[in-house]
Assembly symmetry: C2
Amino acid sequence: MAFEYLSNEPLDKALEGFLKALEERGFAPRTDMVPVGEALGRITAEPLYAAISAPHYHACAMDGIALAANVTFGATATTPVIVQPEDYVVVDTGDPVPDGCDAVVMIEDVVYGEGSSIDDLGTCPVILHAAIAPWGNVRQIGEDICAGEMLLTSNVRIEPAAMGAMLAAGVQQVAVIAKPRVGVIPTGDEVVAPSANPKPGDVMEFNSTIFSGMVRQWGADPIAYPIVPDKPDLVRDAVAKAVAECDIVLLNAGSSAGRDDYSSRAVAAVGEVLYHGIAMKPGKPAILGCAPGSAIVGVPGYPVSGIIVVEQIVKPIIEWLLGCRASNDENVRATLARPCTSSLKYEEFVRVRVGKVGDKLVATPLSRGAGVVTSFVKADGILTIPQNVEGYEAGEEVDVRLLRPLVDIERSLVVIGSHDPLIDEIAQFIHAADPALSIASTHVGSMGAIVAAKRGENHCGGIHLLDESTGVYNEPYLEKHFPKGGVRQVECVYRQQGLMVAPGNPLGIESLADLAVEGRSFVNRQKGSGTRILSDYICKQDGIDSSKIYGYDHEEFTHTAVAALVEAGSADAGMGIYSAAKMYGLGFVPVCEEQYDLLIPDYAWETPMVQALLDVLRSDAFRARMEELGGYRVNQPGRVRRHY
Amino acid sequence: MAFEYLSNEPLDKALEGFLKALEERGFAPRTDMVPVGEALGRITAEPLYAAISAPHYHACAMDGIALAANVTFGATATTPVIVQPEDYVVVDTGDPVPDGCDAVVMIEDVVYGEGSSIDDLGTCPVILHAAIAPWGNVRQIGEDICAGEMLLTSNVRIEPAAMGAMLAAGVQQVAVIAKPRVGVIPTGDEVVAPSANPKPGDVMEFNSTIFSGMVRQWGADPIAYPIVPDKPDLVRDAVAKAVAECDIVLLNAGSSAGRDDYSSRAVAAVGEVLYHGIAMKPGKPAILGCAPGSAIVGVPGYPVSGIIVVEQIVKPIIEWLLGCRASNDENVRATLARPCTSSLKYEEFVRVRVGKVGDKLVATPLSRGAGVVTSFVKADGILTIPQNVEGYEAGEEVDVRLLRPLVDIERSLVVIGSHDPLIDEIAQFIHAADPALSIASTHVGSMGAIVAAKRGENHCGGIHLLDESTGVYNEPYLEKHFPKGGVRQVECVYRQQGLMVAPGNPLGIESLADLAVEGRSFVNRQKGSGTRILSDYICKQDGIDSSKIYGYDHEEFTHTAVAALVEAGSADAGMGIYSAAKMYGLGFVPVCEEQYDLLIPDYAWETPMVQALLDVLRSDAFRARMEELGGYRVNQPGRVRRHY
């Protein structure tokens, strides 16, 4: 039943063949003439030459008197020269140098004869105590720009200073590459326009907003077409209309299997399918086609696949039309924090977080789920794994294309550890206090914080690890994992853990034991998280067989994810913090108050990001916000409990 | 007579005090609500939280059948489980998971009982040979985004993926910082709107176009006001009107001395002058003032001073309003190619070319003339010399803030040597063939090419150095200066040198000797240029006393600059190439044909830029273009004459 693709062409070959085919079929950039004042950021279509020189006349560069330089020759402090009024002209800065003159003496250097003053200038003789060279204090014709000189080559972006140079050079209109028109056609019966209250089953159409934004950033003009239902005739008609109006048409398939079949038939009906199926992941179902004068790209429906296809295939077409790079991609070498495997069958694009820890850049692969649009919001870069490579080991140096400027990444606090919504609140405080700073947080549980600190991959991480034998939080773990020290345990908050249940707790759940009952269900946190350790500890303490709790192995990574599932009725209860229960209006059965600390490795301590974090923790604003969220007790946040 | 400034405050102190004063006077960002679809590139005004989860319902991730996972428990290849039609529901990808179900079995894994087929699905029992875990093949509520989670902090730029995430999270409108309105008021009696045919004395007003483009790039909305004559009342009224309409007002002074006095009086009349005179160069006359709710900046009239002031003072105000960086400045370490002195009295901003030669970045200071707007078109970066530093030596490592992406700079052919307009033509050919490549050329004469190659600072340079004793071009010089070799001498063109004279040669000039005559004038090229060496050689050969030639020490740096001055009647003749004379429609008295080669150091030979250069030289298109320009003879361009 699996769909058979027409091809499995490597991406670079497909792209090369696609551009060649398009060119052969007459696909080419168009040219616009625009006034210079509207040319900002546009791309020159031709080399641009100066029409006139700048300055366009010999201009006095000073207020003073203009004269022929040779009348001053021989003047010195002891042998001054007297210049008669008929041999000089009073001038202001910017005045044309008068005929017969080739130099300007500054007004400060002019001495008046006895009985004369500046008011007599122009009618009295003046005394000069120094000679001036020909063209002294004159901005000569062409000093800045000579007529006929090339100001810009073709295919370069027009910056503000170049606009000034054009105007100075008598250029009023400039030939620029017309912005490529990129039409985006969303399709799918289940697809609806975005709303604040979608019904179950409604898939909100936001891909066209993302794709439009992307192509706009690259210098194209996006056109968003209405959603087309999965009817072959309607899809074909929509493509035909868009092809007539656009240079590039993106046909965005619905996300179900078989949808790209509709797409390829529509492309074939309107023009030609050149490639269908590219050896890339995500993005394999991409279709490369054309109609006279237009490129057509079939883009897969899942947002992440779609984004990769638009970036890898549509961007090069736009760049080909503009004849220059569409964005300032930066490539860096980074150390991979976790292994990342890939198939030999395709080239894979993996979204990664990148942080600068110590003096190395660390890249952490993000979720590869194709539907997870937030992975692109969080991503700092893209790791490309070539088709003939099986993947990379943790610790390997890899090439990463950055999605954010390196300077921002270098000033980002890398938080890897236990999840708590207060991390986002800290991000807001830090960024608001210093816009140069930001936070990149990854939720991998308390043990993840320890592992990351050992590997030198984070600046800090939340930990709330209960030692079963002593009832003490964190210290026993840190003693064990950092026998040589090198980390600080910093007080953050005490927070209320408990069972999140439906509003009003209709089932009367009072403990985990109440969930080990037929017909009831639970949603758990992932192994290694402090909350999971707490659940496991309680089961052990209370003698509960966790295999009797339905859903005990249903693992989520954040308190909010657990709360969302309880709210949706997918589970009767989940362990989590009060603030998450409050956010979702859930019932809450307190279990214990736990100590949520921050683990900060010594190598990160002096960074501006960690120092900003400590400032936030110690602020009244943080304390107030924690009280507002609820379920937190704040004692002395930012205090170093112990330096190991 | 010199104007006394109110202050000479260091830039950083002035800026800090200015922002503080503005804040105290109620200057603050404004907020706009915009639909998500229009939020691209805007800056969030508040932290942004998800309104709903995404997915907002449990969604089937596959086409298949939905069921309760526990009915499949125990199913294996040998002990299949039969599921009755009332215990499953047929679903498509994206469908809501039906009530009572918590997993989806892929259609490919469904086996039909005897006599049934896929057409009976929904009414027939099905056989499963494997159990499925709860939530298998289900995209759970909140898998991507949980309601209540922070999507973005305040004061971050909204990228396309974030727009998608907002829509997925039920956010339809977003609070963004209103674009700061920046009014630009040009002033000056001599200032006129740009035209293609300005009169002598007309100073064309292009600063407002440059400043508008700059602030637009930083996320502000520029408003260009009409030119105001130098009448105190009119300037004051214009400022008052702009202050009422804008967040920031730029009052651009005319370029004459004393004009900033008008400006400061206008600012004082409408609001307050906080600083007048900043210890920076260029830009000292800057005025920092305010009126209720607005910042006012008095910007000097010369374009280069103005650009520096707008960048150093206006950009930080815009960034303060936006609460985030307005552009992605990149800072690099580069080796200074020439010494660069500065005064202890001010912080100086020097425009530099930057090129990557070998594995080092080389920064070459550009003309510091304040009127030279092309220095900003050519500049790759800004070198800042702090107030307490006297300057830097050649070879010192300095910090440079880049104005172009590093990746572009690294792919730029650094041409330092003799000027010929064909260098610009080569730039066009190279960039058109590969948009990733460009040329950065500096005209310092043939000897400059040799010096730069010795220091490892260029990729190539034009040379046409006549050895007086042998009459041979270039070889004797290269033998002398590169005794250990390491360079290639590459054939480029033969070109016609001669005397450029007025059209029709009304004075009947036939040789340099005809210029050593009272009443005639000459314009020369700078020492070290091949053309100057030619002029000197002819004088010597013909026994002409060059001190008798008026203007022999009037030095210009390019053939076109000499041609422009001859055309303007500023000199009766100048030595130069035929193509420059032709460009200006001048008369031309041939003197000799010279050999114009390219010097290419071995360290640069294998770079893609030099290889692209060689491809251009060897192309038919280059040959054709040289013939079109005139005055060139093309033999075998690109051929290595000799490898030293």
